[in-house]
Structures are given as C-alpha cells and as structure tokens.
C-alpha cells in the first residue's frame, strides 16, 4: 500500500486542460462541458459501436479514457446499452456482417439519437471501401450527424466531433 501511495504522490495529477500537442483541446473541453450541462443537465451517455474497424479507432477511444483527457470531468460517460445512450460513436466501415447489429443498436437508441462516425472508414469507407463484404461509410446504413476524419482521428478530434454533434442538436 505504501508503494502505491508513493507512486500516486510522485506522479501527481496529470489531467491537463491544454496538452501541448492539442492546444485546441482546452477550448473544446470547456465548450463541451458547458454544452453538455446546458443541454442534458446530466452526463452525456455514449455508446460505442464497432461496425467493422481495424481496431485503430478503438485505440483512440480507449486513449480518451486515459487520465489525460478526464472524460468524466467533462460530463461524458460510456454506457453499456444503447437504451441509455444519447449518442452513438460508430467506428469502421460497416461490415455487411455487422449491418443488422448496427441498425438494431440505432433503433434501440432513444431520441435525440446522435450519431458520430469516427475515422476515415466511418466517413467514406477508408481503405476498405465498398464491396461484397463492406457497406462503406456509416451514413450508408444509419443517419450520421457528424463524421470525424483521420486514420485514426486523435482523441481531441473525437471530442471535437462529439461537441459538434451535441451543439448542432441543441441548436436544432
């Protein structure tokens, strides 16, 4: 136990408002925090659906959960069921074998049913394109509010995408 406390003390708090490589993150985080609070009055519930990614985009979603990004502090939580989700974060081109599961998840999500498509694959099918096995971009299967390019997009870009979707929904 002593060692554990020592390590905690040595490292201190790393959560940052403005990490050097993503100077824009501070502004995004601040806005996101405000918008989520105003619009939902509670945490924004996100459900991630991997519709056929290479798992690269998942790495960045995992990274968002690192102490550097302090998601919970921004009023965002990942939930286990689409029924409790305000927003779906969809990665990958949509594999034909995942098409139905994605549709079902979308149908089970209550309004406002925001959808953010992640990565070049989610935007336009990426390197996999459309084929007998891939339906390509997410918007070919369910309505998409915001698409975030990048291969994979950085955690800051993913946060920006979420903010844009929530913002647009509030305005609309």
């Amino acid at each position: 136990m002593y060692r554990l406390l020592k390590q905690i003390a040595k490292v201190g708090i790393v959560t940052e408002a403005a990490p050097a490589p993503d100077a824009s993150l501070r502004a995004i985080a601040q806005r996101l925090d405000d918008v989520v609070l105003k619009h939902f009055g509670r945490a924004l519930a996100i459900r991630h659906v991997d519709a056929g990614s290479c798992n690269g985009c998942e790495l960045e979603i995992h990274a968002l959960n690192s102490p550097y990004y302090n998601l919970e502090g921004l009023g965002i939580k990942f939930v286990a069921s689409p029924r409790h989700a305000d927003l779906l974060l969809v990665t990958g081109p949509v594999a034909r074998n995942m098409e139905e599961a994605l549709r079902r998840t979308y149908d089970a999500t209550p309004e406002p049913k925001l959808v953010v498509a992640i990565g070049d694959c989610g935007c336009d099918g990426g390197v996999f394109g459309e084929s007998y096995a891939s339906r390509g971009r997410v918007a070919n299967v369910i309505p998409v509010d915001v698409a975030v390019p990048g291969c994979p997009p950085s955690p800051a870009a993913i946060l920006q995408g979420i903010l844009t979707a929530v913002d647009a929904c509030r305005a609309g």
């Binding site: 390590q7 991630h48 990274a63 690192s66 084929s131 007998y132």
Partner: protein, 519 residues
C-alpha cells in the same frame, strides 16, 4: 540448412526469413504435414486460392513452422472435385482456417472417412450465398447479394442445470464485435463457444485490386494495434519478391518502431488488467505512460500508432541525435516507472488473488492447439521469431525471450512486464547502434508469379504475410495471417471451470484481435 521432408523437394523462398516451398500431391502433402506434426512442428497458416485461369484448378497452401524456418506446402485441388485432406486432426488450429478457405474459395477439407470435419461457415454470415466464393477470380468484388438469414448452429451442451448465455456481437464497452456463447452451471463455465467473422470486410479480395506497393497501406490496417508488425511483414514479403535490401538504418528503425508498438500495447493491457482487478490506480498509471509514449511517437515519427511509417524498401521516418536522446531518456524513465508498478502489481493481494490460477492454459494444451506469441510464452513455450530463427536486425541484439510455465492470467501479466523491460532495453541498444544509410531503397521489378513471405514477431505473436505478384506490379494473392487465428480457440479452453465474472479478465489477458482474424 534446408529442412528434409519425406518425398518433398523444397526450393528456397528468397527473403529476410529462412523459408522454402514445394508442390505436392494430396497423399504426399498430407504425409509431409503429419511428419512435421510428429516432429514437433506447427501450422502457421492455411489459405486457398483460385488458379483456374492457369488451368490448375485451386490451390491450398499449408504454411508450416519447422526448426529451420517456414515451409510452404502447396497442393493442387482439381476444379471438378475441389476437396483436399483435412489437417485439423493434425493441427486443431487448421479447423477454422479450413472453414474460411471454403467460405472464400470453395475448397473443402475432407477426413479420411470422406466427411467434412465441420461444415459450418466461419466468415460467411449471410452476406453472400453458399455457392458464391468471393476469392474466386470471377467473383466481382463489388457484387452484393440480398442478405440471407443467418442460422448458425451452436453446439448444444445438455445436462441438468446447464444454462446458456449468449453475448454479443455488440458488447458493453469498447471492444470489437464477436459472439460468445457460454454454457454454465451455477457460476461455473462449462463451455465457451466463440463465433467470429462479424468484421469480415473483404480484405483479401481488396488486395487483388491494389498494386503491390499500395497493398502496404491496407496491410497496416488489418489489425490497427499491430500496424507496425503487419507493415513490416508485408514489406518483407514484397522485398523478398523484388530482391530489395533495405539499409541497416531502415532495419534498425523498423525494429525501434516494432518495440515501441510492443511497449504501447503491453502498457495498455497492464492498465486494463489492473482495472479489471479493481486496481483503478493501475489503469491511470499505465494509461498515462502509454499516452506519453503515443505523444512521443506523434512528435518524432508523425503518427501516434506509427501507421505507414514502414514502407516497402525501407521506412518513411528517421531519428536525429536530439530525437534519439529523447527516446533513450524516455526508455530509462519508463523502466523505472515500470519497476515501481511491477512491485505494486506483484505485491497486491487482491490482484494476485484474482489472477493466479485463473484462466489457465496448460503447456500441453498450448502445444496441442498450436498457440503462438505471448500466450504461448506464458504457457511454457519460449517461441519468439525475433530470437529464433531471428531476422535482421534482431540477429545482432540477441533478444531475451520471456516465458513462464503457469499459463494463467498472472503468467500473462508477468510475461508482459518482462517483455516490456526487454523491449525498452532493445530500444536503447538499437538507438546506440543505428547505422547510416538511406531511409528507402528502390524496389526493383516484381516478376509475375513471384512469391514472398514476411514473418514478424508482433506484440501479440507472429504476424505472417504471404504475397504473390500478379501482372504489371499488381497483387495476385495476399494472405495476411494474425496470431489470433491460433489463439482464439485457446481462450475457449482457458475459461473452462472458471467463474463467469472472470471471463472479461481472462479475455483481456489474451487480448486477441477480431479484425485480424475476420479479414
């Protein structure tokens, strides 16, 4: 030294790893595989291709690992009777590969009794009909079919008090999709049946539409967490075909990137494994370290996960003196932090309690199932392609192979720690010895029909790429092979007798790729 196989004349496959190939008829093909199985060799991969345009029907390739290196045994399968001898009785890992080969090319493995070992589809869920085979050359890549009803037959476990729990394909949490069917009594797991293939997106077909050079980008996206290993294996195969020799500097940089990928993944896994044992502190620490490493990757190499940094002919990045200094400093700092974390993990009663004896894969089962990589090393099999047969530049560094005998979650944690330490040491040695030389050399011509192999020990296990050149620099066939093919069936064994709530922990301790095996 050329391996000897009964009635088989092997020809060398040129490239960075020791490899040979030969064509054989069905009886000799099967007998040679049996010989290898009995001599303690294993099956690395199995795939099929359509050779009707050449007038030779179909082809099934069994890629075997023998002491000397890789042996690719090729079998002609007649067009009018597309069957071949089953290998699953020799190598259980062949089972799913044979089912995939049927789904994609339409060649069936038959047992000596004349029946099909497991006729259920593996990658085909209903997106294309049973009598259409996407990897046949007359199958249009863009062709789509009405979705068929997916009626997969899971194995039923009978018995008093046995319940079934189906989970997936969409899971709670950020995990790739797959289906798990648990048969349980009370809290105890009697049986797990996996069903994968949900992420099948036609990667092997896609390769055939690309030039050999453009294939590198796709190879780097087969399993994003192993992008470096795939890009290297692909480059190795193509360099074998074209005779290109990357410079010593490029090879050193490749190894540097591969070790960074290994450390990044091990850090992430160690964090999640702590988290699953209610040690949220471990998660926070390891993910902070991982994020620092990713940011250094971005700053020095231009990509957090190092995608597209390895290209056929060399690399597309470099390190200057200041960069090298930063990386050495990082490696030394990480070593100290890892030491502190290791002592916390090894002394944490709760963590030890959850991980010791949990999810045990015995050395015997690991050998029987042909398990590879990290999971094999945690179950008493010290195999690592970096050390044996070794490929440049690792032959200069004598990497230490971590291993453990217990095969439980704790052993897989120990192996990750040990490998991370060794990887940090290797990074320093690589940087110290970085030779001068061009980043990239020209590739040279790729004669039609030329064949190359790549074999790289990624963080999860061996990543293999088999590549055949087509006309005009195009790709005739590319089979990328993920270690998860071998290791997914081992997970089914490792969970038996454990309690249901331990499944996520056991699963995480293997951390297998779905996209890498779904292709």
């Amino acid at each position: 030294m050329t391996p000897t196989l009964p009635n088989i004349v092997l020809a060398p496959v040129s490239g960075a790893v020791p490899a040979w190939r030969a064509e054989a008829d069905a009886a000799h093909w099967r007998a040679a595989c049996e010989h290898v199985a009995q001599a303690g060799g294993r099956l690395a991969a199995l795939w099929a291709s359509d050779e009707r345009a050449r007038g030779t029907g179909y082809r099934v390739c069994a890629l075997l690992v023998v002491h000397e290196g890789l042996v690719c045994l090729e079998l002609r399968v007649p067009q009018d009777a597309p069957v071949y001898p089953d290998l699953a009785a020799l190598f259980p890992a062949a089972g799913r590969m044979q089912r995939a080969a049927f789904d994609l090319v339409g060649v069936r493995a038959l047992r000596p009794e004349g029946d099909v070992p497991d006729p259920r589809p593996w990658l085909r869920h209903g997106a294309w009909p049973e009598d259409a085979f996407p990897l046949r050359r007359d199958f249009e890549a863009a062709g789509t079919f009405p979705t068929e009803l997916d009626r997969y037959r899971f194995v039923k476990v009978e018995g008093e008090g046995v319940h079934e729990i189906p989970v997936g394909p969409v899971h709670a949490g950020t995990i790739e999709p797959g289906h798990f069917r648990f048969s349980i009594v009370g809290e105890k797991l009697l049986r797990l049946e996996e069903r994968l293939g949900y992420k099948h997106k036609g990667i092997e077909k896609r390769f055939t539409a690309l030039s050999l050079e453009d294939g590198a980008r796709l190879a780097g996206r087969i399993s994003g967490d192993s992008t470096v290993a795939y890009a290297w294996a692909y480059a190795m195969a193509l360099e074998g075909i074209t005779g290109a020799q990357p410079s010593a500097r490029a090879l050193g940089l490749r190894a540097l990137l591969l070790e960074r990928e290994r450390v990044a993944n091990h850090l992430g896994d160690l964090g999640y494994l702590g988290n699953d044992c209610a040690l949220a502190f471990g998660f926070a620490q390891f993910w902070r370290m991982k994020e620092d490493l990713l940011r250094a990757n971005q700053a020095l190499f231009g990509h957090r996960y190092l995608m597209d940094r390895i290209v056929p002919g060399g690399v597309r990045c470099d390190v200057d003196a200041a960069g090298a200094k930063r990386l050495v400093g990082e490696a030394l700092r990480l070593k100290d932090e890892l030491r502190a974390m290791r002592s916390i993990y090894y002394n944490h009663a709760g963590l030890q309690d959850r991980c010791i004896t949990t999810g045990r894969l015995t050395p015997r089962n690991a050998a029987r199932l042909g398990v590879v990589g990290l999971a094999a090393r945690a179950s008493g099999h010290a195999m690592d392609a970096r050390a044996h047969p070794g490929f440049a530049p690792y032959d200069r560094f004598s990497p230490k192979v971590a291993s453990h005998r217990n095969g439980d979650v704790a052993a897989r944690i120990v192996v990750r720690f040990e490998e991370a330490f060794e990887s940090l040491r290797l990074q320093r040695v690589i940087l110290e010895q970085l030779a001068d030389g061009p980043r990239q050399v020209p590739l040279g011509a790729a004669p039609e029909g030329a064949f190359g192999l790549g074999w790289v020990e990624g963080w999860r296990g061996e990543v293999i790429v088999a590549l055949e050149a087509g006309a005009d620099g195009r790709t005739r066939r590319c089979h990328p092979h993920d270690p998860s093919w071998q290791n997914w069936p081992a997970l089914e064994h490792a969970v038996i007798g454990n309690i249901v709530p331990d499944f996520p922990l056991i699963n995480k301790s293997f951390n297998l790729s779905y996209s890498g095996q779904d292709l």
